[in-house]
């Protein structure tokens, strides 16, 4: 698949925002009273900025952004539609959480728990958008949902650690440990998906695509000489070496380096991890082999 920058930005930005929100609520749950409300208000502002940026990025993916409201209509069948509902719902809860802390209105923990549930629901929706595409075997697995969640939580916790350096230095130590653990967990779950995908064998072959049993079939034309939507959307168009390079960058950037850095240099850890997650998301698309590509193997 062709990785679209808008989708890479959307999923990584909201993932970090969702993770940061859950981390804050856990902080409130465990250390209520000892942390000043400013920490939560500022944190919520960061969550909303990240989600807002993600939302703006996602609009660049659409051919007709002015019709985006229609995407909320098919929630009965479409995970994309469900995500479109879950994202504003989560942002609404986050906003209410920030306001409640700011005004001292109380009930912050209840709103926080509700927001965390919506955040988890949003992780599920985002993951299922990909896991529900049955023909993309690399994605059609529960690990896809797990990974969106673990990687989002890890980057959110890293961000919380970096942010606490300014807003609540007494929390940095504990948050760094949490970020370390979550990053390690994300490394394990993403690694499991990589191992699984390495063993996948395609279900469809050129033979089943054409209904011709002969083992030797070579494509001579594809009904277009200058490419088509089918060659632009479903191929990443990069060399195998480039893809391997991105995978290495993803593994080091998203997991290995943050594990090394987060205890001592949390800000750098978050920045490196965010870049690493962008690479991870790029690879996530590139590794998915769409069966339609069988029909687009050659022009002569």
């Amino acid at each position: 698949m062709h990785p679209a920058l808008s989708v890479l930005l959307l999923t990584t930005l909201i993932g970090a925002g969702q993770g940061l929100f859950i981390t804050m609520v856990v902080v409130e749950l465990l250390a209520a009273g000892s942390v000043r409300p400013g920490f939560f208000v500022g944190g919520t502002a960061i969550v909303l900025v990240l989600c807002g940026l993600g939302l703006i990025a996602s609009f660049f993916h659409l051919g007709h952004p002015e019709r985006a409201w229609r995407t909320a209509t098919m929630w009965r069948t479409s995970w994309l539609s469900r995500e479109v509902i879950a994202l504003p719902a989560f942002m609404g809860a986050a906003f209410a959480y920030g306001v409640a802390h700011w005004t001292g209105a109380g009930a912050t923990l209840a709103i926080g728990v509700l927001g965390s549930l919506l955040s988890l629901l949003l992780f599920v929706c985002t993951g299922m958008i990909y896991a529900a595409v049955k023909v993309l075997k690399e994605w059609a697995h529960p690990l896809t949902v797990v990974n969106f969640t673990t990687m989002g939580l890890a980057s959110g916790a890293c961000l919380a650690t970096a942010y606490a350096g300014f807003a609540a230095p007494e929390l940095v130590g504990a948050l760094a440990k949490a970020a370390f653990t979550l990053t390690a967990l994300a490394m394990v779950t993403r690694g499991a998906a990589l191992l699984r995908n390495a063993q996948l064998r395609p279900t469809s072959t050129l033979q089943s695509a054409l209904g011709i049993r002969h083992p030797k079939i070579v494509q001579k034309t594809q009904g277009s000489m200058g490419g088509s939507f089918n060659t632009r959307e479903f191929f990443h168009g990069k060399s195998a070496a480039f893809v391997r390079g991105i995978l290495t960058a993803a593994l080091f950037g998203a997991f290995v380096l943050p594990l090394v850095l987060v205890i001592t240099l949390p800000i750098l850890a978050f920045v490196v991890q965010y870049a690493g997650l962008l690479a991870e998301r790029w690879y996530f698309f590139a590794e998915a082999q769409h069966p339609q590509n069988l029909y687009y193997q050659g022009v002569s």
Binding site: G63, H64, R70, G211, F229, N230, H290, Y295
Partner: protein
């Protein structure tokens, strides 16, 4: 229930692209607006097509067969492209089973094209909406056309008649009989999409003539009452 579909005879298709041309002509002239064409006369033309003919070489030289393979939306009975659409722009009609895109609802998110295993949906780069074969829904029901012209443009254009159109749920339709009696098959059955369009396989055509068949009562050159040998066609030396 009706399920309209195409049946494409790979034994007959000569790869002339007449169906592609007529499809583009009809669908670029309709009420929905023109289909994009970038650099149509340049070195690398690209544009929106609902139907493409691809060519494959099967076998090892010198025993190769050239197979021309027309490909368009298969109007699946269980179309994975429909439930994923967040706007409801993609839908399958109950009345005749045609899978359509409502261009006024589509936001161009491309999600449906990911779900389709066959690569037959194409985002129109100009209009930024998803497009695909409509089985010429805007002409097959047009009562202003003579009855025999109420068929998809590709079917009307095909010079050797490699494309059949009809209701695959009606066991007595031309398409159902062709599928049943000539080994019609679906593409990528393992995808579980239950395509409605079917393909008829290549066949080796041989003509078996027995001698006595040349001495038939309906042979106009038969000499009445003459012995069998005299009624055989002349051999080359005799001519």
């Amino acid at each position: 229930m009706t399920q309209l579909a195409l049946v494409i005879d790979l034994n007959v298709c000569v790869g002339c692209h007449a169906c592609v041309t007529n499809c583009k002509q009809w669908n670029t002239s309709g009420a929905a607006g023109a289909l994009a064409d970038a650099e149509p006369f340049g070195a690398a033309p690209t544009g929106t097509f609902f139907n493409r003919v691809q060519t494959f070489e099967v076998g090892e030289y010198p025993n190769t067969e050239t197979v021309h393979f027309p490909k368009s939306c298969l109007h699946c009975e269980d179309p994975p492209c429909v439930p994923v659409c967040p706007t409801g722009a993609s839908y399958k009609r109950k009345s005749d089973g045609i899978v359509l895109v409502d261009y006024d609802k589509c936001i161009g998110c491309k999600y449906c094209s990911w779900a389709c295993p066959y690569g037959v949906r194409e985002l129109d780069e100009k209009r930024q909406v998803m497009t695909k074969c409509t089985l010429c829904v805007d002409r097959i029901y047009d009562t202003n056309l003579p009855v025999d012209r109420r068929k998809p443009s590709c079917v009307l254009a095909c010079p050797p008649g490699a494309r059949l159109f009809g209701d695959v749920h009606d066991p007595d339709s031309e398409v159902s009989i062709a599928i049943r009696e000539r080994g019609g098959y679906a593409l990528m059955p393992e995808a579980g999409t239950k395509p409605s369009n079917h393909y008829l396989p290549r066949q080796k055509s041989t003509l078996n003539l027995r001698q006595d068949e040349l001495y038939r009562s309906d042979n106009p050159h038969r000499i009445d009452g003459a012995p069998f040998e005299q009624n055989l066609p002349p051999i080359v030396e005799e001519l």
